[in-house]
């Protein structure tokens, strides 16, 4: 029986991997492909290297100020996620190592902010943002995304720090390091892979967020999901442009992927 198992397992692994890959990747690949294919060749099913075209992108750029949307999205997501990770790291250390009532409750608060439906906060935020002049300003969205992302950082990092032995802190303590210096020089270097992953998650969270962005911006600021929503309203749906804008919004994923793979490979080679 075990011999039988040994023969079956590689085949089962291969089939499982293949089925999952096909089911997950096909819709994405087709989506990207459609953005480079003229309408008529999609409908007649003749997609080949010869039929590739940039016409949808040209039309999209003529209709929407894509460079501005991209700039806003990149600036908002980058700034909010970087600040969130830096501050969130200290807060997570406070939550994990601090004593008393506040650190424990802070963890619950971070989880709650992360899981309350955005719509429940959005109405009040909309009025506040209008009152204090943050409405339709990049800074307003950055501030909001920073708070939500930092909660995510705390929620994910605190358990991670919990699992790090206290001896590490104690050694730093004996070496004369205190507070922020312990975090910067001992804890942070020990969890670089986790920090990278969480930074990417926080970036994608701001990059993908639709509800706050659609309610709290108007003409001056626009992010990608809002621009996507703009393309779907109206009587005539330009599917090529939809695919083109969607494809543009996928760009950070391969970049993040390459970044992770390269860093992991270089860390393997350095340890070897």
């Amino acid at each position: 029986m075990t011999g039988n198992m040994r023969r079956i397992t590689p085949l089962a692994r291969f089939l499982t991997g293949a089925v999952l890959t096909i089911v997950i990747l096909t819709p994405i690949v087709l989506f990207v492909l459609i953005s480079f294919t003229s309408r008529i060749s999609v409908l007649t099913g003749t997609i080949s290297p010869k039929t590739l075209t940039l016409i949808h992108y040209q039309q999209l750029f003529a209709r929407v100020d894509v460079s501005k949307v991209l700039f806003d999205s990149i600036a908002i997501a980058t700034i909010s996620s970087l600040v969130a990770v830096i501050l969130g790291l200290f807060v997570a250390y406070f939550v994990s190592r601090g004593r008393g009532w506040v650190p424990n409750q802070l963890y619950s608060l971070a989880l709650t902010i992360w899981f309350v439906p955005s719509v429940a906060l959005s109405a009040q935020l909309y009025f506040w943002f209008q009152d204090v002049g943050l409405y339709d300003r990049m800074f307003g969205l950055i501030l909001l995304y920073f708070i939500v992302s930092a909660s995510l950082v705390v929620a994910l990092l605190a358990p991670y720090l919990d699992a790090i032995p206290r001896r590490l802190d104690e050694a730093a303590w004996i070496d004369g390091l205190r507070g922020l210096a312990v975090v910067c020089r001992v804890i942070a270097p020990a969890i670089v892979p986790a920090l990278e992953g969480i930074t990417i998650l926080a970036f994608l969270m701001s990059w993908n967020e639709l509800l706050y962005a659609s309610l709290l911006t108007d003409r001056r600021v626009s992010t990608l999901p809002v621009a996507m929503l703009g393309l779907t309203t109206g009587s005539h749906i330009e599917w090529g442009q939809i695919a083109a804008l969607g494809t543009l919004s996928l760009l950070p994923i391969p970049i993040a992927f390459i970044f992770i793979v390269r860093n992991r490979l270089s860390s393997f080679s350095s340890t070897a």
């Binding site: 997950i24 200290f90 190592r97 601090g98 309350v116 599917w239």
Partner: protein, 301 residues
């Protein structure tokens, strides 16, 4: 050793704690207060006056859209549970094939739909299922599977099913990945011992995997249900709540009351109910997460 955190870390922690408390509690109390006022522009004479539970009565008895939105969200919650069952079975299968390590390639593939923006998932839905241009719609018509004049998004059942399908595509792979990670808390030598002793896979699952991974499984279920509860992006992009109000979830309905109809009192009452609905899911989640952290701190995992 005294409190190891130090002044700088404590200040950061306190500032952030007060920021979060402000952002969470002030809107909550303002919303509860507003839900007791008449803030409907259609009745200017009593605008701003205290009306007690009138808004709640309105919602329950005179606003059919409210109960529709509850029903719709109920359907999506059930769909979320169904997705969890499928993801659990998938995770068991993956655990059987790869007990210790998944190939990195497979991890990347399983995580991919989840890092995609829900808005893009909605756009994919349009591209494949739209009445006129959808590829699947056209293919189904050409093959004679659906009548010429119909489309998936034009009927209530079709629209709900389409959203469920997209949501499942987005969530099942990552949920399965998390379940698989949860199973890993059971040391391999124990599952192997069970195999050697000839214990059936069902019994291994029932007496070894389930009890040990119960904490993680509970957390994953709650996270998944919370996201079903606040479903917004995919429905907004794909159907906008339609046709009619058939895919209008509680989130979309809150949005409509506040920003389209501008009946702020009713909207506040609806949001208050929403807060309590979320609390039912969030409090157990917080409890479990804290317990999980205590186990981590004690080094028992």
């Amino acid at each position: 050793m005294k409190d190891p955190t130090g002044r700088g870390v404590q200040i950061a922690g306190w500032i952030f704690a007060s920021l979060l408390a402000f952002l969470l509690f002030v809107p909550f109390f303002v919303t509860v207060w507003k839900s007791l006022l008449s803030l409907d522009p259609a009745f200017p004479t009593r605008f701003g006056s205290f009306v007690g539970f009138h808004n709640y009565m309105e919602l329950f008895f005179n606003e059919p859209e409210f109960s529709d939105s509850l029903q719709t969200t109920g359907i999506f919650l059930a769909a979320g549970l169904g997705q969890c069952v499928v993801a659990f079975l998938l995770a068991l299968w993956l655990h059987r094939l790869w007990p210790r390590r998944l190939p990195p390639y497979l991890i990347a593939v399983l995580a991919l739909p989840f890092v995609l923006s829900p808005s893009v998932v909605g756009l994919m839905g349009i591209l494949y299922l739209h009445d006129q241009v959808g590829l699947i719609t056209r293919a189904a018509r050409d093959l004679g599977l659906i009548a010429e004049a119909t489309a998936p998004l034009a009927s209530t059942a079709g629209a709900i099913l389409s959203i469920c399908l997209l949501d499942a595509w987005r969530w099942i792979p990552i949920t399965a990945l998390f379940f698989w990670l949860g199973f890993r808390v059971v040391p391999q030598r124990e599952t192997e011992a069970a195999l050697v002793d000839g214990i059936s896979p069902v019994a291994t699952l029932r007496y070894l995997l389930l009890p040990r991974a119960a904490a993680v499984i509970g957390i994953i279920l709650l996270i998944r249900l919370l996201d079903s509860f606040r479903l917004f992006d995919i429905a907004t992009i794909l159907t906008g709540g339609g046709p009619g109000t058939s895919t209008m979830t509680v989130s979309l309905y809150a949005n409509r009351l506040t920003f389209i109809q501008q009946r702020f009192g009713l909207a506040a009452a609806h949001l208050t109910i929403l807060y309590f609905g979320v609390a039912i899911l969030v409090f157990p989640l917080i409890q479990r997460a804290s317990k999980f952290r205590n186990q981590l701190k004690a080094g028992r995992l």
